[in-house]
């Protein structure tokens, strides 16, 4: 109930926006730009014949694969770079150069290497999300407070215990921040990547709706669905932040 009370201004803003949109389309009698209602009926139509779910499934699968691979690489690599100074000074400059390159710029190379199948967008998502996660994980290790490392040293625990009970949990909050950023970028990129070549996914759905008969109702439906799924993905990542083992970092 409290959440509802806090969110009413934003609901009002959205309602006003939809009303303005509706009024503008009606007044200008636009032949191409759809009314909000046309977007709703278009969405229902796609949902009923099942294509909507196929597109959503295809996009989520690509994000899951690319992001999953990035997590598997970035977390161990980031921990290693954070812990071993030599690894950091060797690899960090390379990653700092690769990181600002937009994943979109990788598209030609991705097509060259992986063709126009699923591998290309998965590769692009991987490239997009791996760097922020490496950087955050490394920074997380670097910012572990000395007093904790010292206490661990004092008790003389074996390396495996030091890693599992001090270094990793101390870094976990930052790893989760990295994963939130990484998943956000991954979702941005999958849509862009699907606009290029493939025959499924929400990005393809948007481009195809325009090309095949100016179905702008479906273009806008695709955009809104992308936004809502992005919000839901971030919500899932936020659930990780509420785990008890990381609450200490976010509590204050």
């Amino acid at each position: 109930m409290k959440g509802l009370k806090a969110s009413w201004p934003s609901i009002v803003v959205m309602a006003v926006l939809i009303a303005v949109w509706w009024a503008a389309v009606t007044l200008t009698q636009s032949a191409i730009f759809p009314t909000p209602w046309a977007v709703v009926t278009g969405t229902l139509e796609l949902a009923r014949d099942g294509t909507l779910w196929e597109h959503i499934g295809a996009s989520l699968m690509r994000v899951g694969a690319g992001f999953g691979l990035a997590v598997l690489l970035a977390i161990p690599l980031g921990l290693w770079m954070g812990w071993v100074h030599g690894a950091f000074v060797t690899l960090n400059p390379l990653f700092q150069i690769l990181r600002p390159i937009s994943p979109i710029a990788w598209i030609p190379i991705a097509i060259l290497w992986f063709g126009v199948g699923n591998a290309s967008p998965i590769y692009l998502i991987f490239i997009a999300s791996v760097f922020p996660m490496i950087v955050q994980t490394t920074a997380g290790v670097h910012t572990i407070e000395k007093r904790y490392l010292r206490a661990a040293e004092n008790f003389g625990v074996p390396r495996s215990k030091l890693f599992m009970q001090v270094v990793f949990p101390a870094t976990l909050p930052q790893i989760i921040v990295g994963m939130r950023i990484g998943l956000g970028v991954a979702w941005l990129v999958v849509v862009a990547a699907e606009m290029i070549a493939l025959r499924s996914g929400l990005g393809y759905m948007i481009i195809d709706s325009r090309n095949a008969g100016n179905r702008y109702d479906l273009v806008i439906a695709g955009m809104i669905i992308i936004g809502l799924i992005g919000l839901a993905l971030d919500g899932i990542m936020r659930l990780l932040e509420s785990m008890k083992v990381v609450r200490w970092r976010y509590a204050h």
Partner: protein
């Protein structure tokens, strides 16, 4: 365990330590000697910035002196180990582990009855019922108790306490001092305490060493001959306090 009772638990042998900072050399400790007997509680007081913490870090093994050495049980101190546990003002209870997991942390995995031992020490410091709480769910005083329990559960021979209660409010600090005395009456450990609070030192210690301003030397040593429980407000204790404060260059009109 050394059988020779007469040999000191800790021997600090003419240690010197300086730091190089932007071409300025800062001599922090200049030729410091003293001994601590087995089971003795020694407090070190000194003006702020005089190098107390540096000294403690050297004795506990976290820092090496430039020259001289520290002997524990007659063996040259070479790095920290679990026989001497450090407790600091900031505290270092791991916030990502529960109280129980913190207590288990220092116990080897193959140690028999480690769970029972952790429970016993949680109870000893009055944390029974809070074993599954996370540190951020505890008050400052309870956090200190957890830290003390985590140190004691590994059965250290020495406790190094660097302003352990300074971050607590005055009342809680006093309560924790009494708690520490109660625990030490059950388990006798050798304790080195650094404090800026002369009354705390008189309340707790068997002997008080006063350090000079930087570079630190031992300026004076006072035995505290009063039996526990002590009343810091007693005339004898107040006379000792005035004498120590005088060494620290404070002449108040108490």
């Amino acid at each position: 365990m050394p059988t020779d009772v007469a040999s000191p638990k800790i021997r600090v042998d003419n240690i010197r330590k300086g730091f190089q900072n932007d071409k300025v050399h800062l001599q922090v400790i200049e030729g410091l000697d003293f001994e601590v007997r087995e089971g003795e509680f020694v407090a070190i007081v000194g003006p702020s910035g005089c190098g107390k913490t540096t000294l403690m870090n050297i004795i506990a093994g976290f820092l090496s002196p430039d020259s001289g050495g520290v002997h524990v049980n007659g063996v040259v101190r070479n790095g920290p180990n679990r026989k001497g546990i450090m407790i600091t003002q900031q505290g270092s209870v791991f916030p990502w582990l529960t109280v129980r997991q913190n207590l288990l942390f220092g116990l080897p995995d193959d140690r028999p009855n480690r769970e029972a031992l952790a429970e016993e020490y949680a109870a000893l410091v009055g944390l029974k019922g809070f074993e599954d709480n996370y540190p951020h769910e505890l008050s400052g005083g309870m956090l200190k108790r957890a830290e003390i329990a985590r140190a004691l559960v590994v059965k250290p021979e020495i406790l190094y306490m660097d302003e352990p209660f300074s971050a607590l409010d005055a009342l809680m600090s006093l309560r924790m001092q009494n708690e520490l005395l109660r625990i030490l009456s059950i388990e006798r450990h050798t304790v080195m305490l650094i404090t800026h609070d002369v009354e705390e030192a008189i309340h707790l210690a068997d002997r008080i060493l006063v350090l000079s301003p930087r570079p630190a030397r031992i300026q004076a040593s006072f035995d505290v001959p009063f039996a526990h429980p002590r009343r810091v407000s007693s005339p004898e204790a107040q006379a000792l306090r005035v004498a120590i404060l005088k060494e620290l260059g404070v002449t108040d009109s108490v």
